[in-house]
Symmetry: C2
Subunit: 98 residues, 2 copies
Amino acid sequence: MYKEVLTVKQKKIARYAKAMGHPIRMYILELLSKQSCCYSGDLTEELPIAKSTLSQHLKELKDAGLIQGEIEAPKIKYCVNKENWEEAQNLFREFLKL
Amino acid sequence: MYKEVLTVKQKKIARYAKAMGHPIRMYILELLSKQSCCYSGDLTEELPIAKSTLSQHLKELKDAGLIQGEIEAPKIKYCVNKENWEEAQNLFREFLKL
DNA sequence: ACCTTTGTTCGGTAATTAACGAACAACTAT
DNA sequence: ATAGTTGTTCGTTAATTACCGAACAAAGGT
């Protein structure tokens, strides 16, 4: 049992950063942060990846808490998870010491 | 030959984010951004990981361009890479739309 | 010269990540 | 009831990541 040196904040920001650590996911996040929502079908068309791959990236972002999906049958509408997005913003801001 | 949808900025920020995607590396970055420099020996003592593992994490950060090492024999002094650090700051700021 | 300190590299293992196409599930619309 | 749309899951493959201890390399001090 040793002293834990890593802070909760460091772990949280690392978790968010990890989710942001892929160009495709950055593309999605940037899109969502600009226009708040989109359908994953739109992404499939724009992005040069298989739909199964896209599905995985969306899951990544969802698991990290940065986005959320809402069923609008037969589609799914994705939006930023406002609460966590703001937390991430604050963590990054603080880290970048503004 | 299809249209490239990913921007240079998205790729760059993803690269930086990926390097930040581990708690240990966040710890190191936060330390360096606060006090500008440190010796890796200090880190070895504080952090609960093998020195070989630490060496790898430092290499990650170096390869991403976020830090740089200067030999001060027999130690190595690590500092943030100011130029790239500022680029990263700007990219994140812009992305977080401040 | 020799020992110590410091950090990298090597070899190995285990887990995770990224990607694809095919198959499947859920729901809509006809 | 059937066909189409949409997205997830599965199985597979390849590459990368994380971690360790041991071995190695470089430099400093004695």
